[in-house]
Symmetry: C2
Subunit: 379 residues, 2 copies
């Protein structure tokens, strides 16, 4: 362990550190969990935004994969991935770019939840048909059509009659992020399944096709007991995990595969503060654990080997400053953290923190070297 | 106006829009305000991170300038800017990079607030002396030595005796972001001035040099009545302004020069929600107005011409989804915002929102074209 993390002394700080062994363990865990359910795992690349991570998480070289931006789709396609689901409701002004990627050979599918969008997709499908999934609202947290809404058939008809391809239904039970404990997580997973299976049944009863029935969120993927009727599962943050997932109970702290390497740059002894060079520009402003049982501030502080100081959190951030302090309510002493010392911060939300960096510094599984894996960004 | 914003229809969304006329007005306003005080304006480039903006805000081509990362220093130096203050407490592991830029001809100064840092700077100064300013704590909000602390002389001596250059004192009254109204802002500005002038006096009384006496924050820069003893003023966010600054009373909504262009991608009529393609990846997670009199959620919604819907805010965000809703407490109706419509979102915090993008799409002052100005990022 020390040999591996000793490599970090050569890094400029702040830096985004990825522990490849932990990542591989997380990937293996979800694959193993889903295997008996005979569903396709369609990983969401919005978390890693990295070809190197994609290669390790994809079951085969060409997909399937989920993306949150067309930029991700284009980057993955350029790397040889063809089976791509763009899982944000399609805007009409993005359809030209969708068609362009499809014309090059990418099997890029879109999602939508209104007849207006279906008509826009159909209009563009006159030259070449675009596949679309209908987004189903399984928990009221964001977008989608309710499973019992007759709009589902209307959208399906607008697609099929207009010359587009109705590929199926999908949902994301983001509400599961508010769950706590196994029973609640299992209930959210079943609610998610039931929503899409019901919607798929509506379409089929109306004589419409529905080959794909897609569910997904990292919490439900790890707690679903029954996936009958589901054909694929999407999940993103599970490759890295984070403090929010640990707070929900989906992973342990020891599973969190990314952290922000930072240097101690000051002390305010009268306030019992240590200042580090990781502010919100490095950690992000995500406060996802604020509403959980344990509020981790802007992140949990570890030593350079990744071992947590259980009572130390980043309590405040400015752009390039983080203030490390003892967790409110704890009377643990502040350890001696001299100027120049390296620390690592576990993030609240892996997607948000990783997005602040252009590359991962990778503690590789072989333990001998520190690789650099680039990330992509933008839209 | 319509002719200018009509140009935005060609943009992919989300996009970061910069209104050059508003920016120029903001720059002119601060220059005019500081002129009678005969102080140097040392703009902070952590906000724009753009050579194009730097050219417009710097009083002459080669500086002076403030930066928050060595990356900013290197980018500006490559563009011909030489007088640079790196205004985050120096970490010993960054000194080699500081020396490298200085060896190329950049006059890069660092800041520090401990004898340990001063000794580290002095140790590296044996080959070529590095200039350092002592950071003074004017408001207890973050780092720095209290103005009455004898550590100030100890740090000064460690620099001078060790062969480094003691260039002066600096402070940032970040506490002014919590101010409200002219009287409080003026009081913070005076507190900031008094802190550095007192510290400078301590150094000079001890026979130590203190040529530079530097204060700075956008709120205090706009409200200081007395700058006696101060040689330079730093400010960053004033070039763009934002909802936080408007909430404090430093600017009007109409002064905010950046916004996020977004497209309507869905409706949830039962919840009175409109979904847009700007989530936290575009807007950032900054909730800087949360503690202000008017909480603007994740941003205030405007039409494509930049005219606010006063009752519409982005109330929730996911990675690539924003939920637009009527402000809590308002019974204003949701306007008709059809799928595909372009909107613009005013940000809580210009530094954080701009950091989510790689470029500005610029509505230029001449009104005829849409320029693209790249941003830099990273460390």
């Amino acid at each position: 362990m020390l040999a591996r993390t000793g490599l970090l002394a050569t890094c400029e700080t702040p830096a985004l550190v990825l522990d490849e062994r932990r990542m591989q363990r997380n990937i293996d865990r979800l694959r193993k969990r889903l295997a008996p359910h005979r569903v396709t795992l369609r990983p969401h690349i919005k978390t890693p935004k990295s070809i190197d991570v994609a290669r390790r998480v994809l079951t085969n070289g060409n997909g399937p994969v989920t993306v949150s931006t067309l930029k991700e789709a284009e980057e993955l396609f350029a790397a040889g991935v063809t089976d791509i689901l763009y899982a944000v409701g399609i805007a009409p002004n993005k359809l030209e770019r969708v068609q362009s990627l499809r014309a090059q050979g990418g099997d890029l599918a879109v999602i939508l939840d209104s007849v207006d969008q279906a008509k826009a997709v159909a209009a563009v499908s006159r030259t070449a048909p675009i596949p679309a999934l209908i987004e189903i609202d399984s928990d009221g947290h964001r977008a989608g059509v309710k499973p019992g809404d007759p709009q589902i058939e209307a959208i399906g008809r607008a697609l099929v009659d207009g010359g587009a391809i109705l590929r199926g239904v999908m949902t994301h039970c983001g509400g599961s992020y508010g769950a706590q404990g196994d029973a609640e997580l299992e209930a959210f997973a079943e609610q998610e399944r039931l929503a899409v299976v019901t919607a798929a049944q509506r379409l089929r009863s109306a004589g419409l096709p529905c080959p794909v029935v897609s569910v997904g969120s990292s919490p439900t993927a790890h707690f679903a007991r029954n996936l009958a009727g589901v054909t694929e599962v999407r999940a993103g943050v599970f490759v890295f995990f984070d403090l929010v997932m640990a707070g929900i109970g989906v992973c342990a702290l020891d599973d969190i595969a990314i952290s922000v390497l930072t240097t101690v740059i000051g002390h305010e002894p009268t306030k019992n503060w240590v200042i580090v060079d990781a502010g919100w520009m490095a950690l992000s402003r995500d406060r996802g654990t604020q509403g959980q049982a344990v509020d981790q501030g802007y992140g949990l502080v570890c030593d350079a080997d990744g071992v947590p100081f259980p009572h130390l959190i980043v309590s405040q951030v400015n752009q390039e400053h983080g203030i490390v302090s003892v967790r409110p309510g704890s009377d643990a002493p502040m350890p001696d953290l001299p100027i120049g010392m390296l620390l690592r911060i576990l993030p609240n939300h892996a997607c948000a923190t990783a997005a602040q960096f252009d590359a991962y510094r990778v503690l590789q599984a072989d333990g001998t070297s520190l690789a650099t894996w680039p990330r992509f960004r933008g839209w």
